[in-house]
Every structure is written in C-alpha cells, then in structure tokens.
Amino acid sequence: MVEAAHWTVTDGQIEAAVAAAHEGISFEGFELLHVDDGYRLTVPGVKNSETLTESTLRERLASIPGAVTNWHYWTDLDVSDANYAFLRWLENARGEQIPPPNDRYELLVEGLERHWGDLLITTTIEEDGTRRYSLRHQADATMPDDELAGYDDPLAAQRLAKEDDDGRYRPLKTAPTLQTGWHFPGCSAPELLEVVSFFYPATVTNWYAESIGELDVTHWSETTARQTGIYDVTAELPEEAVDWAVEACCVDSQCLKRREWEYDEKTAIDVPAGEGEFPCREPCSLLIAAARKWSLIEAEETEPMTLELTQSERDQFEELLDAVAEGNADEIREADVGDGANRYRARYLRAKLREKGMLFDE
C-alpha cells in the first residue's frame, strides 16, 4: 500500500469519519460502523473484525490516509449527480471495475489524463486527498506551462471559447476549432466544472443521462415540427436532403458531439454518428438555421442546365467544392496552379465562363 508515504489525514477528516460512523461509512472498500461497544473498521486488503475504541479508531484512521482522504473528498463534494459522475470518470473511478483508491492515488501523483472533446483534463492530488484539475487544449499536451497563457478564473473560458486560433467567431461550441495556447493550471472541482460548462455547455449533463440510460433523444422530424416563424420551413426538407445536411454539419470533422438522433424513430440517417465522448441529443440551432436555407433551395424546381467544359474544368469544379467544403482553400499556395482551387485558376475559370455567357450572366 502507498499509505502514509504521501498523504496525511487532517484532524477535520478524522472528526468527519468518526461522526459519519454513526450512520455508517461504506465507500470503495473503506467501511466504518459505530456499534454498541465501539467501532468496526475495514479497509481494502485488510481483514479486521475487532471492535475498536474511539481513541484506537482515531489512531487507525490516521494510519490509513488513502482510504480516509479518498472517502472524505468524494463525500464532501457538493455537486450534481452528473458532475459527480464526471469527476469520477476523470480518474477512471466510474463503472463496474473501480481500481482501489491506492492504485488510483499512485496514478494521481503523476496526473491522470482524460480527453473531453478537445480538452485535456489532468487530475492530480494534494497531500490531504483534495484533487486539483488542470485543463488545456489536447494539441498543447506537451507544451511547457510557461509557453501557455495561464488562467485561474473560470470565466476566462467564456472568451476563449468564442474564437478559434485565427480569431474567427465559433458559432458552435463543440466544433473542433477550439483555440490553443492557454491553460488552467490548478482548478478545484467546482472551477473545473464551470470551465467545462463554458467550453462545452450541457455535455456533462447529457453524457451522464446517456450513461444511466436516460438520454432523451429528439429526432429531426420532431425538432423541425415544432419550429415556428422563419424556421417552420425546415420541416419540409426532403428526407434524403436531411442526410446531406447531416453529412455537411454533423460529422466528426465539423462537430465533436456524437449524433444520437435520426430522421425519426424508424428512419435512420445514413451518415456516421461520430466517435465523440458526449452525445448530441437533438439537431442544434446552427443546423436548423442552415437547413432553412437548404429547405428553400430544395423547394426550387430543378431544370437541365448546360455548361460546356473541358474534362479538366469539370474536375476543377470538384476541386473547388472540395477545397471550400474541407476548409482548405486558404492553404493552397499562391502559385500552385496545379490545384484546381488555386486562386488564379478560379479567377481564370470565372473570367472564361463569364465571357462565354455560361455563368455570371445576370
């Protein structure tokens, strides 16, 4: 056992344990119960059936800091069930096979890392069992602390979440465009939870609901049916177009949530749901706003249109579409005329098609 070497039980923790013994403690193998003639104490890996006096109990408790501080930390937390479960998950202490506290304590000394979207969250432990949480972008995993901007105030996350690395506004919090270059070096549990809520709102709540089998999913048809005003038209987007909309907006390259909703209860959407840790339970406002545009486009009649193009020009249209769709247009080098989405190539094609009266003809 790692006991005593690193951790110290505080007087307050001993008091709390003795007081709690009257109702009984049973937490991760640490068991303590007040009985008529004293106290019964059990700790992981140690069988003990003797009854202890209160003064002996206090000595014993001081000698098992791992069990006592671990119990105290998790019992003293005043957080919601979802947040509690999330904090447990951060140190792999959730689920069927919970590693005993002492094994976790060894890992926590080094720092236990978990990923939540683009966040890298590292849990460490203080002498009295209190956890500290540090956060940074996972792309900054190996970045020395002093090369990152450090923040203590959770409210700083509101601003960090707003813009990407290029200073562009992020209308979708769970887009994989979180800016890099910052860290929160030492959050308490409530601070950590607040930071996470600003970066990825409602993700912990929905993840927890899913984990206990209570996630309420609202499918596309239900969400669009309740829209009013300028968005009521979204209910008219054809079924096959919903697949295209989802491919456009909801795949992992665009959003870190894992899509759990479908077209309706019986009709699946034929697009990968994604690998994300946290679920998406309903089409978001950004998708609905885009779907409004697509509904209006799909409501137009199609008609045959003729463009006379060389094979290379046809290929170029595909390259242009790809570059914009993948967000790569900015990366194409100035003189890389081999790429169909190169600016000079695009300008040339535009000039030619305008001159020939095939496009841009007003």
Binding site: F27, W74, T75, D76, D78, V79, S80, D81, N83, Y84, A85, R88, A93, R94, G95, I98, L155, Q158, K162, E163, Y169, P171, L172, K173, T174, S197, P201, A202, V204, T205, N206, A209, D216, R226, T228, G229, R281, E282, C284, S285, L286, A289
Partner: protein, 274 residues
C-alpha cells in the same frame, strides 16, 4: 432546514454570426455571479449554447428563475422561450426544479433609469437633460403590435420626469423613423439611446448609417457628430450598461427569487451513487 437552492437563467438571443451579441448576457450574468445570491447562474440562448432547450437540465437547484434578456414582450418571450424550456402548455418540463418564468428586462420600469444612465455615460454629464433632446430607439416591426410598446413606454416615462427638453420614441422598421432623427427635435443636442440588448448589426451598422452619422459604419463616427446643426450623441445599445444586471435581478425577485442576501451553503447531500 436550509432554504431551497436557487438558480438564475439569463435567456438571450445570441448569434451565429456576431461574437459580441452574447457578450452583454455573459457580462451581466458574471456581475450577478459575483454577488453570490444564486447557487447557480447560467446563460442560455436561442442561437448559442447552452440552448434554451437544454439549459434547465444543466441546473441542480430547487427553484429556477428564468429572466429573458429581451427588450420587449413578443415572439421570443411569449412563444419561443416557453416552448423551448418546455414550460408552455402541452409540454412536460424536464427538470426536478421549479421553474419561474420572469418578465423581460426591457419592459421593466427601472429600464427608464438605465436609459438615462446610458445618456449620462455617453455625454459624460451626470446631469444631462436641460437643453437636450433624447431619442429612445426601438427595433419596431409592423408585423408585431406590441414590439414598440416598451420603447414608447420608456420614452413617455422619461418625458414625464421633465428632465430632457424633448423625448421621442423612434424606430428602425416602423414610423416615426430614426432616419430623420433631426426632424424630430428642436434642441441642438440630441442623445440617441437604442433599446437593444447588444451591440451588433443594428446598433453598429444600421442605425449609425440611417441617422447619417457615417456613410459606412467601418469608417466609424465621432461622438458627438454634428448633423444639420444638431449634435448627435449616439450611445450604442442600452443593454451593455452595467446597471442592466440590477434589472435582471429585479425581474428574478419579482418572480420570487431571494436576492436580499448572499446564499447560504446548501446542506451536504448524501453520498451519491457511482
């Protein structure tokens, strides 16, 4: 027995395009967080996250007070927000907490003071009024009858105080229009306060260009700018005034929130299961 825990939700519109649209919502919520009167304070949005639809589930309090940071009663406050929170008829609320839905900030009587405060701030004159005209500018729309009501009510309330020489309610999308602001005033100095929550497209681009402060908003404008012999003191959105946080608190209090004292720590919960 400890008092029930309470949460505040500040419900704003938000934007997919303009990063500053939600800034006043965050700033007012943060001011209220610092006062420590609520166990939880949360922003919620129509266009940003957390969405109205998902905000209640993120809260753990017994009593939840929702205050719309909107400037008038109308489509959003009457229809969209109640529907998305699922507190409207026909929906099942999805929280164990008790939801109290407040009136919007913009229709509160004390918004009158916020408008005047805004006029003082932009003129750097704490006693501004004498010899000065005040235009309260609303969005207005001919599609919704009540949309101009709060703008007109605040203009009337300020007029009744006899502080400014002239007070007018003007609008972007219905008459009397803000475009001809100088036609509506005799006074040389005119303070223009838009009754908007945030500075965005309307307050930064439309209204300055409509009034003729600038031909192109990107070039900026002076405060004051002289137009047709009138000096125009354009304040930007009233919703950015820090005092608005107090109006949010008043709306929450009217809905039943205890805002008199700092919260007491909640009773420690029994150890939750894993």
């Amino acid at each position: 027995m400890s008092e029930p825990s309470q949460a505040l939700v500040v419900a704003g519109h938000g934007s997919h395009l303009n990063p500053e649209s939600s800034t006043p919502i965050f700033e007012h919520a943060n001011r209220i967080r610092k006062q420590d009167v609520f166990d939880e304070v949360r922003e919620a949005f129509w266009k940003e996250e957390p969405a109205f639809r998902e905000v209640l589930r993120t809260l753990d309090s017994d009593e939840i007070y929702v205050v719309p940071a909107f400037m008038s009663n109308g489509y959003f406050t009457n229809r969209v927000i109640p529907r998305e929170l699922r507190i409207a008829d026909g929906w099942e609320p999805e929280t164990n907490g008790h939801v109290h839905y407040g009136e919007p900030v913009g229709t509160h009587d004390s918004m009158t003071d916020v408008i005047i405060q805004r006029a003082e701030t932009v003129t750097a004159n704490p006693s501004v009024g004498n010899g000065t005209g005040l235009a309260v500018v609303g969005h207005g729309t001919e599609r919704h009858e009540d949309s101009d009501a709060s703008t007109k009510a605040h203009a009337a309330a300020i007029r009744a105080r006899d502080r400014f020489d002239e007070v007018r309610a003007l609008f972007m999308d219905e008459p009397p229009y803000i475009d001809d602001v100088t036609d509506h005033f005799e006074t040389e100095d005119i303070v223009v306060v838009p009754l908007f929550v945030a500075d965005g497209y309307h307050t930064r681009e439309d209204i300055p260009e409509d009034m003729g402060l600038t031909d192109d908003y990107r070039d900026g404008y002076d405060i004051p700018t002289t137009i047709d012999g009138h000096r125009i003191w354009y304040s930007g959105a009233v919703g950015t005034e820090p005092l608005l946080a107090d109006v949010i608190l008043q709306r929450a209090a009217e809905a039943g929130a205890r805002i008199g004292q700092s919260r007491t720590k909640r009773a420690t919960k029994p150890t939750p299961g894993v």
